[in-house]
């Protein structure tokens, strides 16, 4: 479901981050790590956009770039109708931090161990001068803690007294303190146990319903992404390879890389197991990415142009955009038969079952059996 009728909250255009590699006495720049190399997307109110990809593909960097935690090399970031926020000085960024916040991956290191929870959650209130210190702030902090399902007296305790799931709730409460419209969730559940993951995800869904939040959900867990996200963006080596509405992308993956990713989602039912696509080798170095399509050395369907030309991100008409020469009308006639054959079997064999398999993993009903966790006192 695309929410184009909803207000556009965040738009990112051609976002790039090239980390310089310096060598020698004079720290000459010898090369660049192209961590993020031209990413575009929009996020609407109440929508969840998932960013998926292997580790090292630039998903986390993208999240941090948007919040200006890392300075972008190029590109545009706009929140609502703001001016371009990329590489704006921190001072001028401050008002926008009330509209966009972040949930971090590691609930253990993302909370200051020396600060009581009340101070952690209340910090944003102090920085943005939202509630005066003392009683009003204490009351607001208690309210925030209740909102994420923690007891009010949690404010007086220290982070290490809480379990991983509870700590992630504290992290969410901290992000909610400024009443943001957008939350960037950088692998918010990948450090948690599966049962706890479900609780945190349910909490995030509840909050989205209540507060019309938009999420930018960064993850490598496709079943979670399929459950939570309205749209998905697949990244490979800092670039978008495929993006579109979740059902389309997960039921009918087009890009060979997306197909390979989906085939790696484990399925319990034996008769529904499909052929697992094992990608050869590692993600190539982002310092010196392969020529042409960055994916071609690991791709089973490569043909002539793949090694030479980087594919354009082409709209397929149904909301999906793919960066692959197989779906480029320009090369449509030059695809060899052998590639067609490989592609037909690729990751979707037996083709009729593939979509159902993904569906069993990703339909919301399958996760509803989990219960809310009652925080232990």
């Amino acid at each position: 479901m695309e929410n184009h009728d909803q207000e556009l909250l965040l738009s990112v255009r051609n976002l790039k981050k090239h980390f310089p590699i310096r060598k020698g006495l004079l720290s000459r720049v010898v090369a660049h790590v192209k961590a993020v190399d031209g990413v575009d997307f929009d996020l609407h109110r109440g929508e969840t956009l998932g960013i998926v990809g292997e580790s090292g593909c630039g998903k986390s960097t993208t999240g941090r770039l948007i919040l200006n935690l890392i300075e972008p090399t190029a590109g545009e970031i706009r929140i609502g109708d703001s001016p371009n926020l990329a590489s704006l000085p921190n001072k001028q960024w401050l008002p926008y931090r009330r509209r966009i916040q972040m949930i971090f991956q590691d609930p253990y290191s993302s909370l200051n161990p020396r600060m009581p929870v009340g101070a952690i959650v209340g910090e944003a209130l102090a920085i943005h001068k939202l509630t005066p210190p003392g009683e009003p702030r204490r009351r607001r902090v208690a309210e925030l803690l209740e909102q994420v399902g923690l007891p009010r007296d949690a404010a007086r305790r220290f982070p290490h007294e809480f379990s991983g799931g509870q700590r992630q709730r504290i992290g969410i409460a901290r992000a909610l303190a400024v009443e943001p419209e957008i939350l960037i969730a950088d692998e918010p559940v990948s450090a948690l146990d599966v049962s706890i993951q479900a609780q945190v995800i349910n909490l995030m869904e509840d909050l989205q319903r209540k507060m019309q939040l938009s999420y930018l959900f960064i993850s490598h867990d496709l079943s979670v992404v399929g459950h939570l996200c309205h749209r998905v963006l697949v990244m490979y080596l800092g670039r978008t390879v495929e993006t579109g509405p979740t059902p389309k992308l997960l039921y009918q993956p087009r890009h060979p890389y997306t197909r390979a990713l989906l085939s790696a989602v484990p399925v319990i039912e034996k008769d529904q197991r499909r052929k697992r696509i094992v990608l050869d080798g590692d993600v190539p170095s982002p310092v010196n990415p392969p020529s042409g399509c960055h994916f071609h050395p690991r791709c089973a369907c490569k043909f002539d142009p793949c090694e030479k030309v980087y594919p354009k991100l082409i709209d397929q008409g149904d909301g999906v955009k793919v960066a692959c020469h197989l779906y480029d009308p320009e090369y449509k006639d030059s695809i060899p038969d052998s590639v067609h054959r490989t592609l037909n079997n690729y990751g979707t064999a037996p083709a009729s079952n593939a979509s159902q398999q993904v569906a069993t993993v990703t339909t919301p009903e399958s996760n509803d059996t989990t219960t809310e966790d009652a925080p232990t006192p």
Binding site: N90, D106, S109, L111, N112, P113
Partner: protein, 356 residues
């Protein structure tokens, strides 16, 4: 009871304090030294030629911290018949005998710069009932000088530690947090600065200006802040890469807020563990300078000066002169070192992870 947030101890700190209290030698050293130091702050009540309380003709007098009382206030006059000099409190016990007046003298009824020439032999005079640790070469009470020397020494060492720690911490934090060019350049400056021979510089300076307490403190602080920067710098490097720092930045916290509210409380371990040893080196440095004669101006009571008297050629046989300052220095340094070791042990993270 609700303490303000910044005063409430985190559980880690509470556990460390508990562990420190369990290390008996360190804990007792801490108690003894604290009591001695607090007592020395009231040294005027312990060693002084002024009485603590005088009861004279139905009136109470507290001369210790009060103004100057002339002799005629108490009906005294000196051997030349003058009455406008300071009252002689030591003589009062005899004077008041048989009347309702009384006087309470400090345990050591001499002040540290007062010269006592009542002996037949020239000073230094050996310990006796009048001067429990004897007198020095100028007839001053050694016990009184030790007590006042301890106060100056401790105040100096604590002030020096405070100043160097604050300066070193701030600079180290900025280095570690900013990193990059500032870090590299300032690190080189610190290395050069640290290689200057500090003692010689103080000696050269002392020949130009006669150093007082504050100038000496300033000079030693200027040359003493570098050590702690190394530790704070590395602590900052480590802490700033953790996600809570990123979280604070994404909330919009300013750099100052991040460094001093988030990172510094997590980087206190080297600070706390090094403080006692900084105090040791402060005591040692002041005593050494006084011993060499480049420290505090005479007649300031000082341990180093007492030691140098004792070791001057004419006084080698007067053992009490060398033993008492030696014992005082040794005991103080041992106490502080024991505290330091206990603190270090209490803060040792390996308590939980022992490698076998």
């Amino acid at each position: 009871m609700r303490l303000p947030v910044w005063l409430r101890m985190s559980p880690v700190t509470r556990r460390r304090v508990a562990r420190f209290r369990r290390i008996k030698r360190g804990y007792w050293s801490f108690l003894i030294l604290t009591i001695l130091f607090v007592l020395s702050l009231f040294a005027e009540l312990v060693a002084n030629n002024r009485a603590i309380i005088v009861y004279y003709e139905g009136q109470f007098f507290f001369p210790t911290y009060a103004q100057f009382y002339e002799m005629d206030v108490f009906g005294q006059e000196d051997e030349f018949g003058f009455t406008d000099v300071e009252a002689d409190y030591r003589a009062m016990r005899e004077q008041f005998a048989g009347t309702s007046n009384w006087v309470l003298m400090p345990p050591i009824p001499f002040n540290p710069i007062e010269m006592d020439f009542t002996y037949d032999a020239p000073p230094p005079n050996p310990p006796d009932g009048r001067h429990i640790l004897g007198t020095d070469t100028r007839g001053r009470d050694v016990a009184a000088r030790l007590i006042y020397g301890f106060r100056i020494c401790m105040l100096f060492a604590l002030a020096l530690t405070l100043v160097t720690t604050i300066v070193g911490t701030i600079i180290g934090c900025i280095q570690g947090y900013m990193s990059g060019w500032f870090d590299i350049l300032s690190q080189r400056v610190i290395e050069v600065w640290q290689s200057l021979p500090f003692l010689f510089i103080v000696i050269v300076l002392a020949t130009v200006v006669r150093p007082g307490f504050w100038t000496l403190l300033a000079v030693m602080a200027v040359f003493g802040w570098m050590g702690i920067t190394y530790y704070m710098r590395t602590e900052m490097y480590r802490e700033k890469s953790r996600e809570y720092c990123l979280a604070a930045r994404s909330l919009g916290a300013s750099n100052g807020r991040i460094v001093f509210l988030h990172l510094l409380p997590n980087a206190l371990t080297p600070l706390v563990t090094f403080t006692p040893f900084a105090v040791v080196s402060g005591i040692f440095a002041l005593t050494a300078l006084d011993f060499l004669g480049y420290g505090l101006q005479p007649p300031t009571p000082s341990w180093g000066e007492l030691l140098s008297q004792a070791l001057s050629p004419g006084n080698r046989r007067n053992l009490w002169l060398v033993l008492s300052p030696f014992a005082a220095i040794s005991i103080t340094l041992i106490l502080v070192t024991l505290i330091g070791e206990a603190v270090r042990e209490a803060f040792d993270p390996k308590q939980f992870a022992r490698y076998k």
